[in-house]
Symmetry: C2
Subunit: 281 residues, 2 copies
């Protein structure tokens, strides 16, 4: 099966998967999610994703199922696909109940929805075009929630502008992109926004920061202006399937391309890490 889905105990093809319209995900976006890359049936950085999932769950007071249960679902879904490389998406909502803003008065179990589809890593030989958008999201962007309309609109704006991503800027500060984090290389150092309520604590970003340590590249976590990003030696975009893409243009102005060696070293270290954990392709 190419696209496998799971919802509350039932595996099926994604085309056939349904959920009750009373799942609180459907009408409140009342849930959290994780998305990860898997290779050879092995989810990459699963522990990191679980750590972030349970952090999100705690912040929204959602009782997510145990790690062992979720792992079993993920592994079974992966075993049902034929894909060597896959994208695994799973979300936990506050469960099924009549619509009311308050949590269900009679406790209900959280709902689990998952799907997996064949998905290659983003081709790093293709640099990205970026646009910018004002960051008007809520003040809890560290929670990986299902309330994603601003990211949807920003991603669509990027697509319509023939760009690959949109940089969010709040009060003059670059936070992150619609579905990825942003780092720069400048004078041999990495700079990226500090993890806080204004951006997602990206796992790929975290790994790059860790790998930078082993490569002897200093890292500073602080907010940057757009001007600083425009003046960077390299502008780096990361998410779970984009292990360090570089941008060549922001809002039509050329950027980056001035430290390809360090960028290549980071990428090589990252690909080695993935291979060490999930095997070769």
């Amino acid at each position: 099966m190419e696209k496998v889905a799971y919802y509350n105990g039932v595996f099926s093809s994604l085309d056939e998967a349904k959920m009750p319209v009373t799942d609180r995900a459907c009408y409140f976006g009342d849930g959290i999610y994780e998305a990860l890359y898997a290779r050879n049936g092995i989810p990459f950085a699963l522990e990191d994703h679980f750590a972030r999932l349970y952090r999100s769950a705690e912040k929204l007071r959602i009782e997510a199922p145990a790690k062992e249960e979720l792992t079993e679902i993920i592994m079974k879904a992966l075993s049902m696909t034929d894909a060597k490389e896959a994208f695994v998406y799973f979300q936990i909502s506050r469960g099924n109940a009549m619509r009311q803003h308050e949590f269900p008065f009679t406790p209900v179990p959280a709902s689990v929805m998952l799907y997996t589809q064949p998905h290659e890593l983003f081709d790093l030989t293709k640099p990205m075009r970026l646009i910018t958008r004002e960051d008007t999201r809520w003040l809890h962007c560290d929670i990986k929630s299902l309330n994603l309309i601003p990211s949807v609109l920003a991603a669509e704006d990027a697509y319509e502008a023939k760009a690959d991503e949109a940089i969010f800027i709040r009060d003059g500060k670059v936070t992150e992109c619609s579905a990825s984090n942003l780092l720069i290389l400048k004078d041999g150092e990495i700079v990226t926004a500090p993890n806080c309520n204004l951006l997602l604590p990206g796992i790929t970003k975290k790994h790059i920061i860790e790998l930078a340590g082993t490569l002897g590249i200093p890292v500073t976590e602080r907010f940057m202006t757009l001007e600083e990003v425009m003046a960077a030696d390299e502008v780096i975009i990361t998410n779970c399937v984009t292990l360090g893409a570089n941008a060549y243009e922001i809002e039509g102005t050329p950027v980056g391309g001035k430290d390809p060696e360090r960028l290549a070293a980071i990428r090589a270290a990252y690909y080695a890490k993935v291979e060490a954990e999930c095997g070769a392709l």
Copy 2:
């Protein structure tokens, strides 16, 4: 049938209603909604709700079905219920497609989900207890979207505090409540926050402002501090099934109760308006 549901062409009991997990409402909250009160099978203020729905749709670039089509669905659902008084909820999502932040590359029709259940108007003889919460929502609260986690958390906080609603306060300004608008009576006048990106343009609020005109009660639309609300003669809470409840306490401090005559006049005018449109109970 007590609780009737509709999803993309199919009517059923709400318990049986399902949607594909690929409905963008499920994983992005990528949709809009309206909720209204109906009596004797007649939706109250339907045109107002449509006006707001299409405004929300335009802001999110969702192509909602035509008014005639939605009206037919609403009327059929109401005809299938036995309830004299009903709550009608309907949401329009960007449709069903593989998850990607961008709008579907191959256009798909919007998805329509609706349900109706028996629902009486809020009993206005019961004054409300309120709590306050910091307003950390996105900066598009005028859009009636499915991204409602902050309202969920605030409503739950109110419930756990044995209160009825939570007042949102942003930068010292009272905006609205988790699922209702807030107005006050002070020195014979109504004051309420101005419609803008920070709050929902409530239809019940709009009607009260209109009725105030006929009653000779002046209305000022401006932001208030919590202190002003605490010092009000009456604190009034409105939504589609709450036609002017009054609060008697905010965060444990007594409020209001100082202009019951004007409050009663507003309520009487409102109930007459509902009766004129939907008949008597």
